[in-house]
Amino acid sequence: MTLTATQANPAPAILPGNGGMRGALSDLFWRRPQFLLLLMLLPPVLWLGIVYIGSLFALLLQSFFSIDEFSGLINRQFTLKTYGDLLQAANLDIILRTVTMAALVTLASAIIAFPIAYYAARYARGRWKALFYLGAMLPLWSSYLVKIYAWKLILAKEGILTWLLAKLHLLWLLDGWLSLPVVGGNSLSVSSTGTFIVFVYVWLPFMILPVQAALERVPGNLVEASSDLGASPGQTFRNVLFPLALPGIVAGSIFTFSLTLGDYIIPQIIGTSRLFIGQAVYSQQGTAGNIPLAAAFTVVPIVIMGFYLWGAKRMGAFDAL
């Protein structure tokens, strides 16, 4: 009886659609996933493509224009003259200074970041691990300008650093350092040393996180095996730990290097009057009104970072990001 009943009224294998606009759309999305994909991708790709890539392209285009030196108007004709201007000694000087600073900042951040990252990855557990993580995260996300401002307070002639050194009877050290030609100045807040310290401070968290991520992946027993086989801690560091952490360091250096190359606010607030690439770009587009030269200047960090990223990719740094 029941058997025949079910046979007579088989449950529908496919439920009827909900009907209406909404049901039709829902069915369409299910049957044609490509359509849904397209619909999802369209807004972000349009936004980034038009607003961002479009602007970048416009910028690149302008670097091939030139400026009329008498009228100050922009001559919209394709020329390489602006790139010729870029290669003047004064501009090359700016580029060299910026790249040197970026390299030094990267090196210093790696040296300071390593012990923090290593401790966090290998020894910190539970509550301490979270504390170390927040210890790198909070400075990373706290306000960039406030961080620079804090250093202006610290490095000022009447500030806390001078006070501390005076208490320790070490003022002669500071004065001796400030009297040196390139790194010195009237006070730390108007010296290249000051610029360097602030750069390292502001970008350091960007180095800690990837190095820590790379070190987390080094199995502890590798280090143990190395010391069991008679290596000193120094040898273990050189031959085991450092090569394995290197992709993380390179990944972090992408940030420290790129951010230093493009920054114009730190050297403007703390440092000498000698320009960095970012400041040159800013003054060319602002007061000088020479947008083509400013555009050509921005191509420099793009090209440098292009090579840098290419090298980093070959070293496997992207897996550590």
Binding site: V45, L48, P115, Y144, V146, A150, L153, I160, Y201
Partner: protein, 271 residues
Amino acid sequence: MRSDRGQSAPLGLKIAATIGLLFLHLPILLIFVYAFTTEEKSFVWPPPGLTTQWFAVTWNRPDVWQALSLSVRVAAISTAIALVLGTLCAAAVSRTKFFGRETISLLVILPIALPGIITGIALRSAFSLAEIPFSFWTIVLGHATFCVVVVYNNAVARFRRTSGSMIEASMDLGADGFQTFRHVVLPNIATALLAGGMLAFALSFDEVIVTTFTAGQQQTVPIWMLEELIRPRQRPVTNVVAMVVVLVTLLPILLAYYLTRDGDQIAGSGK
């Protein structure tokens, strides 16, 4: 049989790590002390005296309030745009494999990977080529562009953790696409979106480099601070604003951390 398990770190490493962490945190704490100093003209240490009068002075400054209001409005709208675009992009990239998928992730990350000054001047030159005057919306345009990546990073990580079979189960039980999104997908990704949104808000609230190129004459809080840093007018007010900014950005970051800490994803990585 040597094992480092449970063994404490070498003393040298402890000292180096402690010094490093102090180097990262002490400067920010200093801001809190300076907000109470009685000294007006210089950054003298130790402060000659402590006072709370500067809070009242700052409270009555209309320029500070205007900057704050502009910053909050810009950050709110940029975050909203970034939430929509970032989630859509993350859903597309994590659910399906398609041609050009890697390019899409690169496209999202690019505005944050290239130095801010490039984004800034690119937008500015595009505005001048297209003859768009500076306005509230030119600031939002720039901010939303680099905020997408933060939402995207958080959402993509969460999508990877949620199993696709849940969606299929929901559909099998008769829910349509919209019901599945509302009752299955959204509750799963909600905390990740909240965390991403907070980080995007913090990022936008703090942004200065791109903003200097897209703001024209308007002042957001960071631009106001930058002006004060270059041409100081009233240092104690700057001290107070700096302290408030630290507190305002601290809260969303801590919240975002607590929202995503159980997961495999680090909310703040790849700022």
